[in-house]
Subunit: 379 residues, 2 copies
């Protein structure tokens, strides 16, 4: 494989790799670029501007302005996000969940959190259904540890909670042809009929709160942009089914510790899992790809390159909330004053502290897991 092939951008719901050109994605996916007005309106309702909003993590959207307007008119609004539970959760997964919790608090919104254990089983030869379902409940602990509101959060396993999903899924499926999913997701004749069906289940969640509450509720989906094809085809059928089109707000990917791409479970050494021991996570940070030069001398002379540095990216996206301190760190990196070893060590300490705290919350989550699981509608 040549370097060029290696870095060619691939972004589909099942594969994100290579160097990601977000401008190209915005154009390819036909979505709207994020605006300052949307950022400001979200911050106003939240009472503060989340790190991820300040740092441009949300680069594009569809109809988020409309969703905000509905809220501003005094209407109820909802949130939907999800997770494909094929392994343990890493920091890249937490990034949008933190933001989602911020949105839930800001807009007092019900959140439907889908665990697509069925899809993971259907797509992956190396995963049994029982394993995927086990990951659902393991990963649910991470979700809960993010601090979501138990009164307003509905986590569900496609497989275990199918009785609450199937009928609406059928109605979506009836309006979705093989031609459509083939064109959008690249299905072909050798794909299994479960995988072909599954988009209906991922689409139907856009309407689930409306269906359960018996009124039309605008739904916003904060998720990485690779999931966008689902919402594109959902938008095509929403109004025919009597629902609002779902709105989206798209996150960038948190880079892995290796060069390029997103943090990925399929490259375990490049990802920090919430189940890693703090010590192990720190070791991974110490081995991370940076924008450093080949020698200390060169680094002192030329300075580091935060623009291509994954360690810097971690400060930027998650571990340095203070904008001034971030600017300072960038400056001393570029000036050659800050060596990568020091910078990594500081990050490793923060990651360790974060994990220690998070893992405590994660353990406590076991006791309240049931409170967060989707319940039957009480009519």
């Amino acid at each position: 494989m040549t370097d060029q092939e290696k870095q060619e951008m691939v972004v589909t719901p099942w594969d994100v790799s290579g160097n990601i050109d977000y401008d190209k994605l915005i154009e390819q996916f036909g979505v709207q670029r994020m605006t300052q007005s949307i950022v400001d309106r979200i911050a106003k309702h939240a009472g503060y501007k989340h790190l991820q909003l300040r740092r441009g993590v949300y680069l594009s959207h569809r109809d988020t302005d409309w969703w905000l307007s509905e809220y501003e008119k005094g209407n109820k609004v909802g949130l939907y996000t999800g997770r494909g539970p094929s392994g343990h959760v890493h920091l890249g997964h937490l990034l949008p969940w933190f933001f989602c919790k911020y949105l839930q608090d800001a807009f007092d919104a019900e959140l439907y959190f889908q665990m697509t254990d069925d899809e993971k089983f259907l797509q992956r030869d190396d995963l049994t259904l029982e394993q995927a379902i086990e990951f659902t409940y393991d990963n649910a602990l991470d979700i809960i540890a993010c601090g979501f509101n138990p009164e307003k959060t509905h986590i569900f396993s496609d497989s275990d909670h199918i009785q609450h999903l199937y009928k609406l899924g059928l109605k979506v499926a009836k309006r979705t042809t093989f031609s459509t999913v083939r064109a959008v997701f690249g299905f072909n004749n050798s794909d299994n009929i479960g995988a072909i069906w599954h988009p209906a289940l991922q689409m139907m969640v856009c309407f689930l709160q409306s269906e359960r509450e018996g009124e039309n509720i605008p739904c916003l989906i904060p998720a990485a942009i690779d999931q966008d094809p689902y919402w594109r085809i959902t938008r095509d059928i929403a109004e025919k089914m009597g629902y609002y089109k779902p709105a989206q707000i798209h996150a960038k990917f948190l880079p892995g510790l290796d060069e390029g791409g997103k943090m990925s479970s399929s490259q375990p050494d490049s990802a920090i899992f919430t189940t890693d021991s703090p010590k192990k996570a720190a070791q991974k940070v110490m081995r991370a790809f940076t924008g450093g030069r080949d020698t200390v001398e060169e680094q002192k002379k030329l300075g580091g390159r935060p623009d291509i540095c994954n360690v810097y990216a971690y400060y930027y996206f998650m571990f340095e909330d203070d904008d001034q301190k971030l600017v300072d760190r960038e400056a001393i990196c570029k000036s050659g004053e800050l060596m990568c070893g020091t910078c990594k060590k500081q990050l490793a300490e923060r990651v360790k502290a974060f994990l220690t705290d998070f893992q405590e919350k994660r353990e406590k989550a076991r006791k309240v897991l049931d409170d967060f699981l989707l319940k039957p509608v009480v009519k």
Copy 2:
């Protein structure tokens, strides 16, 4: 449409029309012809030879001899049949159910009775999901009225009982490609993704009893031969999944009151529904297609033609249990002694009596419906 086009045989799970050539079907579907030995072994265990066995309703099978051998070795055996609830039940539906009840009694077998309301909704533009589910519970009354054992019969709606079906359905789906269902059922790109998924749910029931009871139990499916494609592809994956291949015993179709084809809900005047008033049913019989001649004179001279007569078929398949009396009726028909009007009137009386009794049982079934519905496994 020419007469030839009109009568061209079409037999798929969704369409049975034209004059049916069972020899051709046996060859096309690659199934085994029924044997006297199988008929005798079933009768031996039942204690008597059912009308449908004596009259050759079961023309072909797959592995029914093996299923019998398992029973004869002292092993538990099971039954599976189903119904697509898109309307009311007619006599053509009851025919295999009567036989199924006979098998249940003879082999003390659990029966899993699938109501594919999801599929009917997915396949038909004129049916809402709610209507299809309503027909499930309406049709369940007919099933119960056939006299099945409430301790051993598990009726389930795909839509309402999906939580008991989905996981095993996913495992079947993972092993079934779009290529396969396209080749077998003729799906194409404009079919919806729900319809494409659904074969997995129909296939999985072959393994449902084994899965629920935690041991491998031979499953026999008494059903009309048009459903055979499902079992053919199920047999291909059964052993890979650790289950026995399902066995089948195939029924002929009960003809409609019109010429040719099977009794069909889509031609309501040609079908006698269990919800028809006895009077209305009698009127339908009086308008039935017969093998009679154009004039009374001709009939007296040439005799009737029971071989093409649907009224005779009704005596043959359902309403004349006495073999000698059937032979006598055939004789006086052929000799020109019996006129069609008289013969139809006699049948109409029997149909009326049957319906009066059946409708009483059907009403009583409302009270015990819950006993027959699929329950969660108690472990």
